[in-house]
Amino acid sequence: MKKFLVTILIISSVIMGFSILKVGFLYIGPVGDFGWTYAHDLGRKYLEDHVPGVITTYIENVPESIESYRYIEDLVKKDYKIIFATSFGFMDATEQAAKKYPDVYFFHCSGYKYNNTNFTAYFGRIYQPSFLAGIIAGMMTKSNIIGYVAPVPIPEVIRITNAFALGVKLVNPEAKVHVVWTHSWFDPAQEKEAAKSLMDVGADVIAQQTDSAAPVQTAEENGVYSIGYNSDMAVFGPSYYLGAPIWNWGAYYVKVVKEIMAGTYKAGFYWGGMDEDIVKISMTNNVPDKVKAVVGAFEKLIKEGKFDPFTGPIYNQKGELMVKEGERMSDEELLSMDWFVDNIVGSIPKASH
């Protein structure tokens, strides 16, 4: 029956004048994590809805090892011509597959390996909207204590947390960002208690980088403002949720698939920012217009390339000057960041990965 339907679909599409393009996605987590994988899957659905002739599929819970190669090869053998591998640990397997199958386009998210024919490394500069989220938090706090629920201590998480703290500092040099690590990407019950522990030390805005909406929900119950992450969490905090830095992978997926169809695509390294719409800041009506205006102004400057959150002077927690006045951190420095900026209270656990 399924085969029959597919045949009908192919015949009708040939008659209608376009060909079927099969696009496959590899996910590290379940699409129901409401976080990283969920955001990629929204992108996949967006792609399917916005580019006619594209059929997509996904494989979830793929192990982050060379074993992922089997899954990639399986997709290739089923005639998938574009494959998005959406976790760091799939990098080597994707590279290997790109060498073996030169006529298939491979995209690997959050890594650093690529070639200039059929293998692209892609990622989004979500630290930009995180900086804007920091501006919101810095302007909304009255206690000058902002809570931040962080997942696992890797450079990506540290960079985004720092960007948030720099946004806070820009508008409110007095405020401190207290960081609590949960050592897990999603564990709602623990994220709730992390948020609670931050409220107990006086935090009146709770931000997060973990996947679940538990911090947003807990903040709502306690009448404390919240800032989410990954995707829109507004339903969990009707009165106190302010917004979130969110992924918008769909914009990128549509762009590259259309380019491949048109024959104009060039593989390489891609780290897109707010100007490319791959990352965004979402704001609810709980944010006052005055705050929205400041955020909007900086959003414009970032999009035009006139401002970068990681512009000096930036100090570390010991008060040492890490980035000189007027200098911008390079991508390499950003990708390997392992220190906190000076208005963060909390430490980076060592020897964990």
Binding site: G147, A189, E193, K196, K350
Partner: protein
């Protein structure tokens, strides 16, 4: 530090562990080892949340979770008691099955809030300074307080408990006394599974009100360790569960205050460490095993033909 906040956080983080541990104590007292707690908790979390989402009735949701957990545990009962397959392997299968089923069926509920159990302040008791925090919790926490002594009395002071323990210690002797070993084990599995699922339901109905895949986040495995830590005894299960909740919430609070948290990570290892040590002692020393109270027939499928 806000001591009341620390107490309520410890109890909230301890309660799902307490229910899962109590459930497994009943199961293991009957001589069946179930490593499928993680799967059972996920089934409880999803079935409870789905009911709450669709009906808005949290008590109905909690009861549905109990029933779903009981029925789901019977799959393991059938495999381990009737078919007599390896209990470790079938338990792992139950975990995978529970995680998979809840993941697939739960997709429709991701990113949606629902009704939850609210805190009830017990008049009088909640006014006690500091310790009153224990009585500013939700109904499921209070249910846990009551369940611990009730289970203790049932297991150690009643004929029913004697029957349960006899089946776990000497099934052939129990059989010769006319006890239906298979029936007792099935009932114990069903009740144990229901309680374990209640631990999962606590996560999606009381601690938070949301569903995300694998939201039990390894608590089923901690409960397996806590059963040994507690020496198959409900009061020690309460101490172990709350202690674990205490360590978890203390380290979060130390972090929030800006105190380094390396030592807390070592504290978090303790239950596992104690479990590993206990298990090592188990395998070397049969006397030790009997002294801490491990059911003698634990993980041994019973068969009338293979009487010792």
């Amino acid at each position: 530090m806000n001591i009341e906040g620390l107490i309520t956080a410890s109890v909230r983080l301890g309660t799902p562990l307490l229910f899962a541990t109590l459930g497994e104590i009943i199961t293991e007292r009957a001589g069946v080892l179930n490593l499928g707690l993680e799967g059972l908790m996920l089934v409880g979390a999803l079935s409870g949340f789905a009911t709450s989402y669709m009906t808005g009735n949290v008590w109905l949701a909690f009861i549905v979770a109990l029933i779903a957990g009981g029925l789901f545990a019977l799959i393991h009962a059938f495999m381990s008691i009737t078919l007599r397959v390896n209990q470790v392997v079938s338990g792992l299968a139950l975990t995978m099955l529970g995680s998979g089923i809840s993941g697939v069926l739960g997709k429709a509920f991701v990113g949606k809030p629902a009704a939850k159990f609210n805190d009830i302040y017990i008049p009088g008791l909640s006014n006690i300074p500091v310790l009153g925090a224990f009585f500013k919790m939700d109904a499921i926490v209070y249910l846990g307080y009551i369940l611990v002594p009730v289970l203790y009395i049932i297991i150690f002071k009643t004929k029913l408990g004697l029957t349960l323990r006899a089946v776990g210690e000497e099934p052939s002797a129990a059989d010769s006394r006319g006890i239906n070993v298979f029936l007792v084990r099935y009932i114990a599995k069903g009740c144990g599974g229901a309680l374990t699922a209640a631990g999962g339901a606590y996560l999606s109905l009381a601690a938070t009100s949301m569903w995300i895949e694998n939201m039990s986040a390894g608590r089923g495995w901690i409960a397996v360790a806590l059963v040994i830590f507690s020496a198959w005894e409900p009061f020690k299960a309460l101490v172990g569960s709350y202690l674990f909740g205490f360590v978890m919430s203390l380290q979060l609070r130390l972090q929030a205050m800006g105190v380094a948290h390396v030592s807390a990570n070592i504290l978090l290892m303790l239950p596992y460490l104690i479990t590993v040590l206990t298990m090592i002692l188990f395998s070397f020393n049969k006397n030790f095993r009997n002294r801490v109270g491990a059911p003698s027939a634990l993980s041994v499928p019973y068969s009338r033909e293979e009487k010792m």
